[in-house]
Each structure stands twice: as C-alpha cells, then as structure tokens.
C-alpha cells in the first residue's frame, strides 16, 4: 500500500468520472500537440526549402507570390523575365551565385522546372537511380514524383500547360525520365527537373509572343520581344556579401521590370498570417484543458466531501494532514498524467494520419514521428493545471477536523 495505490483505488471507484476528465484533458493536449507539431514542421520545412537562398528575382507582382512560386512551388509565378536581364544580374559584383528556373508546365500535377544542375546540388539531391538530365526533354524526377506516378528511368511522359492538372497537353514534346533523385525532404522531391531549353522549346512553337513560359503573363512581352526573346521565370540569388541584403533588393526593385523578394522576410510574413489561425486553434485547445481542469476540481472537491470519513479515519490511523493533502494532489496528477500521455499519443497519431491522408500535408512531409520542444511545456502546463485544480480540495483534506467529522454520524 502506498499513496499511489490508494489514489488509483479512489479513481477506480468512479471510473466514468475519471475517464471523462482524462478524455477532456487528452483532447486538449492532443489539439495543442498537433498544432505544435504542425507549426514546428511547417517552420522547419519553410526554412529548409529557403536555406541558402538570399533573394528571389522575378517579374513584378506580389513579393509573397514570387517567394511562394519561386521557392516553394505552390503559387503561380508573377510572370517571366528576360534572360538577358537575369544574366546581367548574375554578373553583379554583389552576387555570389544564381540559379535560373523556368516554370510553366506540369506533369501529372507536379511542376516541371527548367533549370541547371546547380539547383538539385543546392538541395544536396543526387540521383538514386539514373542520372541528371543532359539534353532537352530529358527529365530527372523527385522522389515524391516517382512514388506518386510510378515513373522509372526510361519511362516517357508529356507535360501539360499550367501548374496543376491537365488543361492543355503538350503531346508533341514527350519527356523521357533519365533519373530519379533520392529523397531530400525538401521541395525538390515534388519537382520534375529538366533543362531550361526544354521549357523554351515547348513554348516557343507557335505561341512565342503570347505566353512564354509562365502561367500568368504580364507586361514584359515588349521587352521580351526585342532581340533575344528567351525568358526565365525566377532567379534564385545568393549574396557575396551581407551588405548586399541592404543594397541589392533596392537596386533591383528600383530599376527595370524586375522584382526582388527576400525569402526570410516573406516567410516571416506568411507565418504571421498562418499564425493567427493557429493561435485560434491553440486557444481552443487551452479552453479544453481549462474545462478539464474544472472537471478535475469539481470531482476532487466532491470527493473530499464524500470521503471526509475516510480522510478523518486516515488521520486516526496516523496519517499526517500533509499526507492526506498529498494523496489528493497525487490523484489529480494521476489524472493529468493519464490525460497528457493519451493526448500526446493522440496528437502525434492525428498528425501522422493527416500527413498520410491529406496531399497538402503529405507534400509538406508532415509526420507524427517526431518531437517538438514545446510539447515539454505542454506537459508541464497540464501538470501545473492539475495541481492548481487539486489545491483547494487538498487544503480541505488538510483541514479535516477528525473528532468533529467522526462524531457526525
């Protein structure tokens, strides 16, 4: 016999009551845990995809859109920019390296990106099978693309115009898979990589002055039409010097048709926007925990009333008031611990399930098989809430007047 077994015995007397409180706690903890996991992994993922990219240069439009389309490949591009302009920027003394991307088509819903081998190299993506593309209409596909489509080295496919779904198939320009990249956990897993020339050739035939590469077209057509009309969609830029962060964006934005957007800035803005929604859900989770705490409080308060004879009896048997108080507190901590364990398990389970069932969450690589440091705080919070809920009943147990209690029956 010890306080633990005694508390357990008391919980077993009213199992439904205990179960209700544990479940309320668990749902609250699960909600908060899932949110923590989701936002931590989203942040992590956003940071990983943007790592080493100081600036994204593309056509004028919304800077957020430029980042979303240029780095994360989730939005439509702002438009295209003349290759000549991009090459001029690449030669800028403050620029250490650039990676050009040409967007516009998709294959089975995955974006086809015309680029250079530096792009997979930037994400440390090496072929798991086959090799990188060398000629136009050779494609090296990301791990997720390979998994979803079942394409293997040697297979052929055609691209469709647009960034998602098939609205206009480029049947006349089939691609051939020459390589499959190893999984990197970055955006590149969901991309079809090919040479820039492939994208140019697909779109140059017959439609050269209307839409060049991008889904959305803007007013650079005039610029594009004179002389070298080749275009790319975005240019990923790495600075040579930290000083460039101050000067280069201003220089680009102030002149000509180009727009520069800093991923760090736009990602922070994006997280603020998403954060408001997450905060609402988090508040909901806290509300659940608070109502569970109220349930625990009422249950224990009633218990100290119903058990006043037991409490008095235990004093007679030699228990100090502090021990009785400890027993009540322990009972609350047991409920809180059960709710926490169940909630953590459910939170991780739901996160894992979402990652598997929702394509968007899967694309983000959402998984429940990981921990976030904030979860530790949740555990502490729930234990503290349990202790607070038990405090008043525990004090009541502490103050039990034995002689008076035992005399009243």
């Amino acid at each position: 016999m010890n306080l633990f077994l005694l508390s357990l015995a008391y919980l077993r007397v009213r199992p439904l009551n205990a179960l209700l409180n544990v479940l309320l706690l668990a749902v609250g903890v699960a909600t908060i845990t899932a949110l923590i996991l989701f936002s931590a992994q989203m942040r992590e993922r956003l940071a990983r995809d943007a790592r080493g990219i100081d600036l994204v240069v593309g056509a004028k439009g919304s800077p957020m859109q430029l980042i979303l389309s240029g780095i994360y490949h989730v939005d439509v591009p702002t438009g295209n920019i003349p290759l000549a302009e991009a090459e001029a920027l690449a030669g800028h003394p403050m620029v250490a390296a650039v990676i050009p991307l040409a967007l516009g088509d998709n294959a089975a819903g995955f974006r086809i990106v015309g680029t250079v081998p530096d792009y997979p190299a930037h994400y440390a993506a090496a072929p798991a099978a086959g090799r990188l593309w060398r000629a136009p209409f050779e494609a090296t596909i990301g791990a997720e693309v390979a998994r979803a489509t079942g394409w293997r080295v040697g297979d052929a496919f055609v691209g469709s115009h647009g960034l998602a779904g098939a609205d206009f198939a480029h049947d006349d320009h089939p691609y051939r898979v020459v390589g499959v990249l190893a999984r990197t956990g970055t955006v590149i897993d969901r991309l079809v990589l090919t040479a820039i020339e492939s994208v140019w050739r697909v779109h140059d035939t017959g439609r050269r002055e209307t839409e060049a590469v991008a889904e959305t077209d803007h007013d650079q057509d005039d610029a594009a039409d004179e002389g070298d009309s080749r275009e790319i969609t975005v240019l990923l830029v790495r600075y040579r010097t930290p000083l460039a962060a101050v000067r280069l964006p201003r220089e680009i934005n102030g002149r000509g048709p180009l727009q520069a957007a800093a991923p760090a800035l736009e990602t922070a803005r994006l997280l603020t926007l998403v954060g408001a929604g997450l905060d609402t859900l988090r508040g909901f989770g806290l509300l659940l925990i608070a109502s569970a705490a109220l349930g625990v409080f009422i249950a224990l308060y009633n218990a100290t009333q119903q058990r006043r004879y037991d409490l008095a009896m235990m004093r007679c048997l030699g228990a100090s008031p502090a021990r009785l108080m400890g027993q009540i507190l322990l009972e609350a901590q047991l409920l809180a611990a059960a709710g926490t364990v169940l909630g953590l398990a459910a939170g991780h389970g739901v996160t894992e399930l979402l990652g598997r069932l929702l394509p968007e969450a899967g694309a983000m690589g959402l998984t429940g098989w990981t921990w976030a440091p904030e979860e530790f705080l949740t555990v502490l919070l729930v234990q503290a809430v349990g202790a607070v809920a038990a405090l008043l009943p525990a004090v009541r147990a502490y103050r039990t007047d034995i002689a008076k209690t035992l005399a009243t029956r």
Partner: protein, 222 residues
C-alpha cells in the same frame, strides 16, 4: 503518593480532565488510570461525554484542562505530527460507524493502516489476523459486500494490525442482540489480551456492566 505510583506505569492516565464546548462543560474526570493490559469500560448514557473522552484518549481532540497520557506520554504536549504518528502506532480505534475505506479491499484497509503508520507491510501478519477474526476468505472483498458482523470484525482487525498498546472501541455492541453482543465483546477481550493491548470500551450498553473488572461511570449531563 498512591496516585502518582498508579499513574507512573499506567497505560491510560487521566488527571483533572475537563472539556468544554462553547463554555458548556461536556466532560469532567478527576483521575482515572488503567494499568497495562487491563480491560476497562467507560459507561454512561448518551450525551454523557463517552465519545468525547474516547477522542481525548486517542489524541483526536485537546482537553480544555488537565492531561491525558497514553503509555506514559502526554498527548496534549506532543506536536501534531508526532501525535498523529504516535496514534497510528500505539492506539487502535474501532469506531461505532466503522469507517472502512470503501475504495479498498478488506486486506487493503489493513495494509493502509500499516502504511499510514509508516510501518512495513506485513502480509503474513495480516493473513494471520484475518484468520483469527474468521475473515480468512474475505481478504479481497470490498467493504460494501460484507455483512455487518464481518465489517465490524474488519474494523477490529484494522485497529489491531499495527499491534497497538491501547485498543479503543466506541459502542461496539449497541446494535447487536445478546448473543452477538457477547460474541463481539469476547472477541475484543480475547484479541486485546492475546496481543497484550490495554482495552477501553465506551458504551451505554448496560449488558457489559458486569463483564469488566474496571469501570468509569460517566454521569448524564442536562
């Protein structure tokens, strides 16, 4: 002089004991001693202060004046925690309403008593005790499933499980017919004697009047 020597080795020693509630005198006992291992009766009608005296003997309440000593230790003079511990080890109490812990089994109630007195678990002792009180098959039963007689024997077992030097019982026979009354009193006397514990029974039951060699009569109070 005779008083002093009687008090010295006494298991229970009361001197000049008074207990008031709200200025009303509930209890007034000049001197009373019970020698170790002896068995005594506190006899008086309802409202005569029997239960109050029992609470004072158990150190559950503090006297207005006078002193109560158990085994030579003044209860009122002890710090609260020490008194709780002393009570747990040295005094076994059988209440009128038995106050078994309903959440625990019969054996669990006995284990709880050992644990709360900070004594090591003694499964063999518990088994022997339940055996002696004719409860051998009931160790795992819940108090709610026991008959009244069984429940009372469990309460007695719980009062004895820490091998106290003083066993107190409050109205153990009030609800019993003659045959059962005799049986319970015999059981209490036998078990107390077997363990060398002093036995004090508080009762208004005059059937017990002549069973005990020593008696304190408490007068009815208006």
């Amino acid at each position: 002089m005779a008083l002093a020597s009687a008090a010295e080795g006494a298991s229970v020693a009361i001197s000049g004991l008074r207990f008031d509630i709200g200025g009303r005198r509930i209890l007034d006992v000049a001197d009373w001693f019970v020698a170790p291992g002896r068995q005594a009766l506190l006899l008086g009608p309802s409202g005569s202060g029997k239960t109050t005296l029992l609470n004072l003997l158990a150190g559950l309440s503090r006297p207005t004046a006078g002193a109560v000593a158990v085994g030579g230790r003044d209860l009122a003079g002890m710090p609260a925690a020490a008194r709780d511990r002393f009570r747990g080890r040295e005094i076994g109490i059988v209440f009128q309403s038995l106050h078994l812990v309903g959440a625990l089994s019969v054996a669990g109630n006995l284990r709880l008593a050992r644990y709360l007195a900070r004594l090591p678990a003694a499964e063999a002792d518990i088994e022997r005790l339940l055996d002696a009180l004719d409860l051998a098959g009931r160790a795992a039963a819940r108090p709610a499933d026991l008959s009244q007689g069984e429940a009372q024997r469990v309460a007695i077992a719980r009062a004895l499980v820490n091998a106290p030097s003083l066993l107190l019982a409050d109205e153990p026979t009030s609800a019993l017919d003659d045959a059962n009354c005799e049986r319970v009193v015999a059981l209490l006397r036998r078990q107390a004697a077997a363990r060398g514990a002093t036995l004090v029974i508080a009762t208004h039951d005059v059937r017990l009047k002549d069973v005990f060699p020593q008696r304190l009569d408490l007068p009815a109070r208006p």
